[in-house]
């Protein structure tokens, strides 16, 4: 083949490639969108975890355990992120994934700390398995006894989710003995021991988490809890005013205006989302139906009366 003919054929091939390759890529991408839709219909959990033994995976990792642990941790985050707040979502693989991650790298603190939060959140935000979260954090403490923050997490789990204030206070106290621990760990121990079952204590714990975490997901959840607790505290105060009204007039107020007229509250009280509180039946103050605030199930209106 002469050089000229070869050049010609090369130019032709290049032109064809320049036209065909992008066009085929677009076709492939369009097809990929269809395939994604089809594979979503297949049960995603089946392929989620073929190997459930952390020990076996550790052996198979051939010395690259930390890297495999990092990969598994990203899978945990994606697994949880895909399900959180999805109606009817289940979290069967969350614990095995965390178990594998922490077996592969027992010093991966983030997996214990955030994993405990993921596990303990109530449905639909999480599986509501505070018992497994406690196991996970205890395992983290056994592997990393110098990490006082794990004691903070343990205290948090006992106080907020399991309502075991004695164990919660003990965890905070144990963590406070670490020379690197923050001073407020002692305060927290005393506060939980004294008034564990109070909205103020819950708010204090969540505020500490909000102030110290660097993860956006946890921060967002902590903020939601703080706002929820602020709303509950606002409702609690209004409820006290409503009872004062009953003592003064022998009946419950039917509107906020009546409370204001009786000078039991001042101005328009709003929840953290900016919606004014409203008076419900029997003088029980409520959130505006349009409010975006969701009261915590375990710290909500049932505690107000």
């Amino acid at each position: 083949m002469s050089r000229r003919t070869q050049n010609k054929s090369h130019i032709r091939a290049m032109l064809l490639a320049l036209l065909a390759v992008p066009a085929l890529l677009v076709l492939c991408a369009a097809l990929q969108v269809r395939i994604d839709a089809e594979t979503r219909l297949l049960d995603p959990d089946k392929g989620e975890l073929l190997l459930r033994s952390g020990w076996l995976l550790k052996k198979l990792s051939l010395g690259y355990e930390p890297l495999v642990a990092d990969i598994y941790w990203t899978r945990v985050v994606q697994y949880y992120g895909r399900r959180a707040r999805k109606p009817g979502a289940t979290y069967e693989s969350l614990w095995p994934l965390l178990d594998i991650t922490t077996t592969l790298d027992p010093r991966l603190l983030i997996a214990y700390r955030f994993g405990a939060v993921f596990l303990s959140e109530r449905p639909p935000v999480g599986p509501g398995r505070a018992d497994l979260a406690v196991d996970l954090v205890k395992r983290g403490i056994a592997e990393n006894p110098d990490e006082w923050r794990l004691y903070q997490d343990l205290g948090f789990l006992y106080s907020i989710h399991l309502k075991d204030y004695q164990k919660g206070a003990a965890a905070y106290l144990e963590g406070s003995k670490n020379p690197n621990a923050q001073v407020w760990m002692k305060v927290m121990a005393a506060r939980v021991a004294e008034t564990g079952n109070s909205l103020e204590t819950s708010r204090m714990i969540w505020t500490e988490i909000y102030a110290t975490t660097k993860d956006e997901l946890i921060r967002r959840r902590a903020k939601q809890h703080i706002q929820s607790l602020d709303a509950a505290l606002g409702l609690q105060r209004l409820n006290e005013s409503s009872e004062d009204y009953w003592r003064k007039f022998g009946r419950f107020p039917t509107s906020m205006q009546e409370l204001r007229d009786a000078r039991l509250v001042a101005g328009t009280l709003q929840d953290p989302a900016g919606y004014p509180y409203v008076m419900g039946p029997n003088g029980v103050p409520q959130l505006d139906p349009q409010s975006t605030i969701v009261l915590d199930l375990d710290q909500g209106p049932d505690k107000l009366r």
Partner: protein, 259 residues
């Protein structure tokens, strides 16, 4: 269309057989016999699943190794041995040569995979003493493995056109691994708050060959039926991707100065 690519393909297949490539079947057979004997001793209730998982994984791994290691040498070896010069002096176009090489290796892989599938079926029968209707998904899984191997072969051939076998192996393996983790790449785009990162990862997801969707070993082990649309779309996807890579390989190879 010219018959020349077919001639090149047959010769490539013969060369692979001469190079004792199919000897890997002996290892596969021994492994499946060993698994069939041992599986009853070590697993309770999941013997069938273990045999299917092990067999399909082995078919996939052996195939990938063959596709990469033979594929990266397809063009390079011909240049090294200077047999390419005498071949291209004949009335054969360069793209025909590439298509022939691709077809030859694919034929080798099809033969190899088919024989391994027979071995898997024999081991499965030894363990369970029956075939179930749901076992048809195993054949779909094998077919998907072949589609995957076709794309990997095309990739290896593409790199073989302009770089050394060592680098071709690394590039092909790298793309393969990235393609297997494609959903993870898309996951980054869904969770990152940074729009630029999200856009780039989304683009990478659609440009990379998605090998993850060919992996239906878990579905085959559980006996789940696969939608016909998925089989058809995966076939089309693999065919388009192979054409895309071969067009790009032809463009690169046509510009190579072989003097």
């Amino acid at each position: 269309m010219s018959v020349l690519p077919g001639v090149v393909a047959i010769n490539t297949f013969r060369e692979a057989v001469r190079d004792r490539v199919l000897y890997n079947l002996i290892f596969f057979a021994l492994m499946m016999i060993g698994a069939a004997i041992l599986v009853g001793q070590i697993s309770i209730g999941i013997e069938r699943m273990v045999i299917i998982n092990l067999g399909l994984s082995a078919i996939s791994i052996f195939g990938i190794i063959m596709a990469i290691f033979i594929g990266v040498g397809l063009v390079y070896k011909e240049m090294e041995k200077r047999t390419l010069y005498s071949l291209l002096s004949k009335p054969i176009r360069r793209w025909e040569f590439l298509v022939g090489k691709f077809g030859g290796l694919l034929l080798t892989l099809v033969v190899n995979t088919s024989l391994m599938t027979l071995g898997l079926a024999a081991a499965l029968y030894c363990v369970t003493r029956e075939f179930e209707r749901s076992d048809a998904t195993i054949l779909v899984a094998v077919y998907f493995i072949l589609l995957e191997l076709a794309v990997v072969t095309a990739l290896a051939l593409f790199f073989s056109c302009f770089t050394s076998p060592m680098l071709s192996t690394l590039y092909t393996l790298g793309i393969y691994i990235a393609g297997v983790f494609a959903p993870g790449i898309l996951g980054i785009s869904q969770f990152t708050p940074n729009r630029a990162v999200a856009a780039v990862t989304r683009l990478v997801y659609y440009v990379l060959p998605n090998f993850h969707d060919f992996g239906v070993i878990a579905a085959a082990a559980h006996g789940d039926a696969l939608p016909l649309a998925l089989i058809w779309h995966n076939t089309l996807y693999a065919a388009l991707y192979v054409v895309l890579i071969l067009v790009a390989a032809s463009a690169v190879f046509s510009g190579r100065n072989l003097k």
